[in-house]
Amino acid sequence: MQLFLEQMLNGLAIGAIYALITLGLALVYGILRILHVAHAAIYTVGAYVGLAIFSSTHSLALSVTGSMLFCAILGVLIERFVYYPLLKFPPYVPLIGSIACLLAIEELCRMVAGPYILSFPAELPFPSFTIGGIVISSTLSAVYGISAGVLLLLWIITTKTELGLAMRATSQDMAIASSMGINSHWIISVTFMIGSAVAAIAGILVGIYYNQVYPTMGAVPAYKTLALIVVGGLGSVPGAVLASILLGIAETLLIGYAGIPLPRDALAFIAMIAVLLWRPQGLLGGRR
């Protein structure tokens, strides 16, 4: 029972990290209807930049803010240079552009930092707990605390502010939003900034959680998150978050605990196909 609970808590942490990555993808899909595979590259860059700043300054706060800023700019560059000019083409054209971007950035990371696995020896300033004999390490509580904070903040931004209203209007219909005086291209850029900054946080968290930073760390999340946004309902941010957390738990329990010899990375896609057959609009997706 104790093992089960511990696995459950680990799964929850992995799910929370998936949620932080998937979130940006869901935001971008909601607004541009683009499968933003290169998002995983931003997450990788986030981990690297965070590590670089941390090793030179030993300040986690500087590392996180610096990395968020860098990634926000990178996200906007990708949006302006790759996606925006390709919007009028069929969806696979920006998708290929996005994949090319992912490859190029991964290679760039490898060229700059080398092909090795770097360690990220930072201590997260979060307390560890013991509840009923189960230890929640400081890393775990940091993952919970940070993801909950980010999700809460984003929820407030998207539902309670003028900016959130403009974002929702733009994702509903870009032309109408523009005609109502919303600078929709600016809103798109802001969406990319937010999503990319959150990806930077996710990159640093993963780096510290596994104590590993390497060039291809984005390869698996790149495609797994695609499955997650489908399971959640394309474009639905709460759905994507829910799907991520469920997948994190399911992966850990099925593979780590029950010992089912299933390839971990195919599970997301098996879940996706099952969901599509049962509920084609996704878990929390509206009918369209």
Binding site: L35, Y92, V93, I96, A100, L262, A266, F269, I270, P280
Partner: protein
């Protein structure tokens, strides 16, 4: 020609065959597929198993291989009848990942070790290797191109074009969406199966990672870059993307980066493909043609 050039040439010819198959599905019938490498792999594994464990010859196995990949293509093409655009794109990615995991985790397919000891192709009593095998691949490529050409001229091909353009209008003209979409899937995946079989007997050792999602992206990039829905586009795309890494080979360290960056630039500035409409090549060509008339 050096052995090295022949090897590259053979790879390009095989990938061109697979790309032509994808062109039938994506270019002619308008169904997005990001999992084409799965069928490339199914063809390779089918041929490898039939010729090693099954004791067939390459030629005896080939019809079976085409049948098996075409049949699996038919089954996995079924989602395309219900799903549209992005959902279909992601589902096909999923199919690719699942097929690869089946190869990796089911012992029958050799697991992580893959399948080795695949015999060479024997034609007129000689084992084909090097240049003769390249010619065999080119002959198959020519056959695939011929089939593609015939397909575009057949009523089935026209039905697929109509479905790609407007499904509701096409079905009001007697075109059954189910029948012709699946026909395109069968033909396209069978071509991928042929490419897979050739690949297996060329490499003589295959493993699941050869047929992963990056390969699917590569094949789709070939089709899109060359010009979707054109006859020669996929071949040109295979040639360009197959040669690029070789051109950059002296720059070992930056090779993959340059490759990715170039792919990005090409898709960004020539999204309709090198042979597509409004492409540079077409414009020059039509200008030359216009010049002749004057």
């Amino acid at each position: 020609m050096s052995d090295y050039t022949i090897t590259i040439g053979t790879f390009i010819a095989i990938q061109a065959i697979v790309a032509c198959g994808l062109n039938v599905i994506v270019g002619y019938a308008g169904q997005i597929s990001l999992g084409h490498a799965a069928f490339f792999g199914i063809g390779a594994y089918a041929s490898a198993l039939l010729t090693t464990a099954g004791g067939f010859s390459f030629w005896g196995a080939l019809p079976l291989v085409l049948f098996i990949t075409g049949f699996i293509g038919l089954v996995l093409g079924l989602p395309s009848l219900r799903l549209k655009e992005d959902f279909l794109a992601i589902t096909t990615i999923g199919i690719n990942f699942i097929v690869v995991s089946v190869f990796l985790y089911v012992p029958f397919f050799g697991g992580a070790l893959g399948i080795g000891g695949i015999p060479r192709v024997i034609l007129f009593g000689t084992r084909l290797r090097g240049t003769p095998f390249l010619f065999l691949c080119l002959a198959f490529l020519a056959a695939v191109q011929l089939v593609s050409w015939l397909f575009t001229r057949s009523w089935s091909g026209l039905a697929c074009f109509a479905l790609r353009e407007d499904e509701a209008a096409a079905s009001s003209m007697g075109v059954s969406p189910v029948r012709f979409k699946l026909a395109a899937f069968i033909l396209g995946t069978a071509m991928a199966g042929l490419g897979g079989a050739l690949y297996a007997h060329f490499m003589r050792f295959i493993s699941a990672t050869d047929f992963g999602f990056p390969m699917s992206v590569m094949i789709l990039s070939m089709v899109v870059l060359g010009g979707m829905g054109t006859l020669w586009g996929p071949v040109l795309g295979a040639l360009v993307l197959g040669m690029l890494p070789e051109v950059f080979r002296p720059l070992t360290e930056y090779r993959m980066f340059l490759y990715a960056a170039l792919l990005l630039l090409m898709i960004r500035f020539q999204p309709g493909g090198l042979l597509g409409e409004s492409s540079l090549a077409r414009q020059i060509f039509s200008r030359l043609k216009g010049g002749e008339k004057e």
